[in-house]
Symmetry: C2
């Protein structure tokens, strides 16, 4: 069979990973794919820069259009950003090129438009590398679980955040210290906002939610909270209660609509996903036929992400002769059969909570607090009064609640914080039993 020619837009870490894998494993890959796959063109910002990969057979250009208008069969978008990337991808699609992209923001924000353009032009846009790096989670959900009505997807889908939370637990470090370590090790950017505030995870969860439930991509509807507010004492108290704190992306189908939320979460330590540590990622999928399945692996890095890029290249190659209507739909469901089920806002969520209060150490305080919770129909699973802090007349109180409407919790916390005996804002973290 003919060799397949690939053009890269961007030749940074992942691009070099892709070139390296295609060269090193050329024999392995062609024994599987039945033909050779080679990078023949690449667009780069700086033509003069030296790169630690063999590029003799690659035509370099600093003009994206040169690649898009070349004779390549597939364009791999690795530029990052959303605007130039979108224009480039749409231009490539209009030239009849298939696309592979690692760009989660691009798909989360402009995916609906891009997929429509792909449909109109009879090409495929493949995006396995955009979610959870090297884990074939898009394939598992879109193809491996086709038999299932999926009820929930919950994932540790940001390695930086998981590294920080793992350090906080293992070494008792503060968020700030753990972040500094992550930066020193190259796991976190100088500006860590995208990772620690959950935006990166929200991009990925947007995609997972759409392919799980067959809804259009709706990044703006994702409820996102970061981990920068997590105190080391919360990590320790969670541990005492048999939980681990993870930065989780959770999307659930409820009778009222779809929840899509990214936030720190207490997970029972006996769950496998609670034991996913360091920069590793894992995605748990709950569905009616198979039950719970979990997919674990490296969520970032040149070669893990490159692994997914190459897998997508082979997948695209295999569908060259497939009638387009027999291809796997971009969002798992046929584009004309997507669901219009609404995405819920945070006050509509139902969740269990971990609350930490700092209360005056005197009789009657807990009666006031539990009365407020009872008035909002919030039932308490456990309440622990910790040792008073040093010489202050103040005790930390930790409460685990049962499942509750988030609007009720908001009201309760507002009232609790108004009590004279409550000395600091209430810390609250959601709890997911994942059973």
């Amino acid at each position: 069979m003919n060799a397949v020619n690939v053009g890269l837009l961007g030749l940074g870490t992942v691009g070099q990973g892709v070139v390296g894998i295609l060269q090193r494993n050329a024999n392995e890959i062609s024994r599987r794919a039945g033909r050779e796959i080679s990078v023949t063109h690449a667009a780069v910002r700086d033509l003069g820069k030296s790169r630690p990969v063999e590029l003799n057979a690659v035509t370099l250009t600093d003009n994206v259009s040169d690649v898009v208008n070349s004779d390549v069969d597939i364009v791999v978008e690795l530029m990052g950003g959303t605007e130039l990337a979108k224009d480039s991808v749409l231009e490539a699609i209009s030239r009849g090129k298939h696309i592979v992209t690692a760009n989660k923001a691009l798909i989360a924000i402009h995916g609906n438009e891009i997929f429509q353009a792909a449909l109109d032009n009879g090409v495929i846009v493949s995006f396995e590398p955009a979610v959870a790096g090297g884990i074939p989670i898009i394939k598992a959900i879109r193809e491996g679980l086709t038999a299932n009505r999926i009820t929930r997807v919950a994932g540790i889908i940001n390695g930086t955040g998981n590294f920080i939370l793992t350090e906080m637990r293992d070494k008792g470090r503060s968020f700030e210290d753990a972040l500094a370590d992550a930066q020193a090790l190259g796991y976190a950017e100088a500006d860590p906002t995208f990772d620690v505030e959950g935006i990166d995870a929200a991009h990925k969860l947007t995609i997972l939610s759409s392919i799980a439930f067959g809804i259009p991509l709706q990044f703006d509807a994702v409820h996102t909270e970061g981990i920068s507010t997590i105190a080391s004492q919360d990590v320790a108290y969670a541990e005492e209660l048999g939980y681990r704190i993870k930065h989780l992306g959770v999307t659930t189908e409820t009778p009222a609509g779809i929840e899509i939320r990214v936030h720190p979460t207490l997970i029972p330590e006996r769950r496998l996903i609670a034991n996913v540590n360091g920069v590793m990622n894992a995605v748990l999928v709950q569905s009616d036929a198979v039950g719970s399945t979990l997919y674990y692996g490296p969520g970032a890095g040149a070669e893990p992400t490159g692994s997914s890029v190459v897998a997508d290249l082979v997948d695209v190659v295999r569908t060259f002769t497939t009638d387009p209507e027999n291809r796997v739909p971009h969002l798992a469901f046929q584009p004309d059969l997507l669901s219009d089920k609404p995405v819920l806002t945070s006050d509509q969520f139902e969740c269990a909570f971990y609350l930490r209060l700092l209360a005056e150490d005197r009789a009657g305080v807990m009666a006031d607090v539990t009365r407020i919770l009872a008035d909002q129909k919030i039932s308490i699973e456990s309440l622990l009064q910790k040792e008073p802090i040093d010489d202050q007349n103040a005790v930390p109180v930790v409460i685990l609640t049962h499942q509750v409407k988030e609007a009720a919790m908001n009201t309760a916390i507002e009232k609790i914080e108004k009590l004279d005996s409550i000395l600091a804002p209430v810390a609250r973290i959601r709890v997911e039993s994942l059973d």
Copy 2:
């Protein structure tokens, strides 16, 4: 698009699971697949038997040929056994039917012949349900990891065995008691040989090894040991040393050849796979580009296995219009490019070991033992002398070795057992650090 008609050979637990899923999730599945998939024919042993699924639209027969010669597009083989199943599948292939099978023994033993027949007839034989039930592990390895040179696959791929070992650890029970529990709960057959002696796992590992390394299926070359010899004290000592005992299928590519082995294994408890408990399955894949990925879920049951059957049905449907040479090859690699790398025999394996000796409680015994090990160039990682047993003049000694040629270990154990001071046969269990 046209509806797809499916014929079942066998309508037992899994068959009923498939019918139930296709009915209950008909809308969900057709929204994904782009067309309806229905069971129209089924061959059963007993036509008169009542079955707890709706079968009004299904033509029942007690003759396999009626299904094979009907107008179904795909035949799902759920008969079990290897001889009649093989004949039926070959007959269906010769009639141009695509095949989905959950029959691990059939594929492990007759797969090479069946795949050749499929190739000659331009049809697909799909077997995701044959390995690890509902986990899409065949898809992950054959398609998700195409970029990678795979170095090792290690799996907990028999739920019965994992249930027994989990009970032994959690409740301190003996193998016999835990097996009786498994039987009472319906997890183990009245004759548990296939599960506890590792034959079922060996069938599955045969398949995993072939798709990982691109070698023909070689069930007869698998080295298989069961878990019936595991003593509760080994489970407890392993725990003290920071390990869990799991019944692992491991296949590794070494410079000398391929190891394919099923045996009880000590795994460091910090590994995720060491924390896979009860009847759950998990498969760890180690490869050069992505690194370690792990796939976890239910390994058996009507609906989990049915989930994989239906996923395969949809996959087959999607390739109806694909040029056969663009399909995913049965064994992941193009059939004319399989490797002839030899499968190693057990004396060629290299492994670390846990040894448990019962030694006379007197000076000099350990000197004799460690001298024998040193003579075989076996280096010791740790050696623990436990408390003497009751009033006997005997102490259990536990030794962990570094990696060693298995032939050397055999020689050493033979010599150790000949020492007057060694009072019982040496218990040995392999150790895999899985790093």
